[in-house]
Amino acid sequence: MHIPDGYLDLSVAGLFYILSIAVLGYSIYRLREQKLTSLFGIVAAAIFAAQMLNWPIPGGTSAHFVGGALAGILLGPYAGTLAMAVVLTIQCLVFADGGITALGANIWNMAIVDVFVGYYIYKALERFNRSIAAFVAGWLGITLAAIFAGIEIGISSSFGYGLGVTVPVMGVWHAILGIVEGVITAGVVSYIAAARPDVFEQKAAPGKLALGVIAAMIVVSPLFAYAAELVGYAEPLENAAEKIGLEENPIYEGLLPDYTLPGLDPYVGTLIAGIVGTVIVLGLGVILSRYARTT
């Protein structure tokens, strides 16, 4: 479910960076007085390890456990969201799993939607039956996270398919895989409830208003994404250049204006310009290598 670079429009990716940073920032602010650095780090490592488990499913394939809802239930939504964000950032910067420009969206789906929705559902259903509550939280958390990923990709004009394709594909597939997530979340929660019930008691009720605001942000985020897309994607840097009039009055025409040489077939001109650029980069690279040897 990790969205790579190139699937999202930059406007959509940017929007989800802003939303994610807002929620993560608030979570850090809320937890500022508790010394929890190691909890985020070690539990993140544990979630990371648990995600490696390759659960066999009927038919010979396998499914992975994501753990967002579980993190929300065990650590509370704020600490859970931070632990998941740590996991996703490590996956992005160490394993190239998920793109750098898409990190905001990935955090939004798996560290915020999954964690908070899982937490809300668990809290709402806990009084009826703890195991069923955990199952529904795990299952719905992951399914919604996938649907959000589908929405983000579907709204982006970079991706050739629209919402009508991306949302059902992501949603249905993960709703099936999510059953494993639900069963494991329920297994973990009932085991911990039996072995160490105090883990659940320690969670102080977090601010209702903030939780409401975050829930509202989750609900309206697809509309924000739609608006971001409307504002105009295409080619942001080129649009910007056009707006400030660079296109009409280039500051500098370059040695090879518009990548072509006057009097030449445009394709040949482009090719030559490309080769010239590459040669310059190669030259700079040689200088770089030489400096690296001397340092």
Binding site: G6, G41, A46, V86, I100, S158, G160, G187, D258, V281
Partner: protein, 243 residues
Amino acid sequence: MHELLERTIKEASSYFQNFLIHEYSKKSALHAVDARIKLIATIIFIVLAVSTFNLEKVLLVLVFLIAISAVTGLSLRSIAERIWPFTLFSFVVVLPISLSNPTYAVTFTLRVATSLVAIQMLVMTTSFAEICLALRSFRVPEVFVSALWLGYRYAVLMFRELLSILLARESRRVSKGSHMDVWRKGGEAVGLFFLRSFEKAEKVQLAMEARGEALNHYHGKLKMLDFVYATIVAFTALWWVII
């Protein structure tokens, strides 16, 4: 449950190879470039690649990245090995569209491939410690950076712990069990594993507090080398704009 163990170990071993990729990938000039510059450069390269559908511009960034990798001594073969699965996946995904719009399919796939090359150039030449120091110098909140660093350092250890729990359970198992059984019992094992992780977190926190949390800060000044790399990035951006 043996199936769960077998599949997991198989996948994890290939996954964990990534941990020290910067160590065993051939030493290149890029290894010596400051992580802050490399991180910013990666973001710039990716933004240049994914903010256009102009095939020439995407190709320009891709060719430049390959040229930089080749001339600085990074193994192009390793890069190709690491990017092809996802590049191929992306191509297959947009394949149905290629019938009506072949240029789109090619451009889309190249955008993804270019971004992957850019990330790999960072991952293969930069240790995670350096990345964390770079993030710290960009003023990313300390709690987050420390947690990143802890999470990275403990990932292998926690995985071993999880595996030992699963192995212990597997060795005591007498019945074969259905898929549902594996999920349920596995869920319990993961429950125990999380409890252990909480205990470990507590111990680590106490140990950190007992010793005092010393932070590493970036004191390194940018070298000539870093400015040369910055020039390459700037030139790429310039060529991308005037194209």
